[in-house]
């Protein structure tokens, strides 16, 4: 396979994967493009490579910065902004985990805590089933949260060796 075909396939695949994880298709494609780019790219470059409008490119570059997956690079004497992706895939994974934990897991935990306060006839099956489901979910979410938190705080070496054990 030639490089151009490979690039195309990768950008496509990353975009599709993104979609099934609730991530905007173009955002995932811009990320893919920057992941395999040896140089920082400008908004213009992104527009050209992906055939998207200026507004779209700009908005998704900003979103990626927001997620902490890419950063601006300013070149001395140049006015244009360039963008580079973090290339260390373990750092990328950690960052995605960190953000989703903050954006989704934590809010869900708050809601589950609220829902644990539901009063109602304790004798009723409806109330019992609700309370039990919420309680179990809260337990699982708490465990997941602690596990992720520990993983994220750990340095790479610690994580890898722990996971090597998990993997036998």
């Amino acid at each position: 396979m030639q490089l151009e075909e490979g690039k195309e396939k990768f950008i496509q695949a990353w975009g599709t994967l993104g979609s099934s994880w609730g991530i905007n298709r173009t955002m995932a494609q811009v990320h893919a493009l920057l992941l395999i780019s040896p140089e920082a790219l400008s908004t213009e470059d992104v527009m050209q490579e992906l055939n998207v409008s200026r507004g779209n490119a700009n908005m998704n570059l900003r979103a990626l910065i927001d997620w902490g997956l890419i950063s601006k690079e300013l070149r001395p004497g140049e006015r244009k902004e360039y963008f580079v992706a973090e290339k260390d895939m373990w750092k990328v994974a950690k960052q995605v985990i960190r953000e989703r934990r903050k954006r989704e897991l934590e809010p869900m935990l708050r809601i589950l805590e609220e829902l644990k306060q539901v009063e109602g006839n304790k004798a009723e099956k409806e109330t019992q089933a609700f309370t039990e489901a919420i309680g179990n979910l809260h337990d699982l979410a708490t465990k997941a949260d602690k596990t992720l938190n520990t993983m994220l705080r750990a340095d790479e070496h610690w994580f890898l060796s722990s996971f090597m054990k998990l993997m036998r």
Copy 2:
């Protein structure tokens, strides 16, 4: 908080969480409804509780069966089909992991393996960057795949004790 309000909130929250994970909103809501229901529910029940059409209810119940998250329950002498959700949250989590691994991680691994074959001027920066990014991603994906696989094969006790260690 009263039970009805709590149910409403939970169904709502689960639907929203689902959306941000690429899961159809109604599918997640039907799942939430069944998770907290002490009894199996019929299509009619789901239609009423969530105010959705027959077609929608039917399609999402089928999708949940497909994901292995709910099952049909037939009552002797009754023609209608009833549905129950798996209530053990760890089993639910495992099932979701199993399905997503099969539907997303494995296909992505196949693509990355294909992309490792990209030829091109080894001296070129472009090719080098591509090859390196794909290689690193493939390594990470392989590790994730093995880890998940081990987790899924393990019984609950093994898993919990391993993760307790990870969590200190």
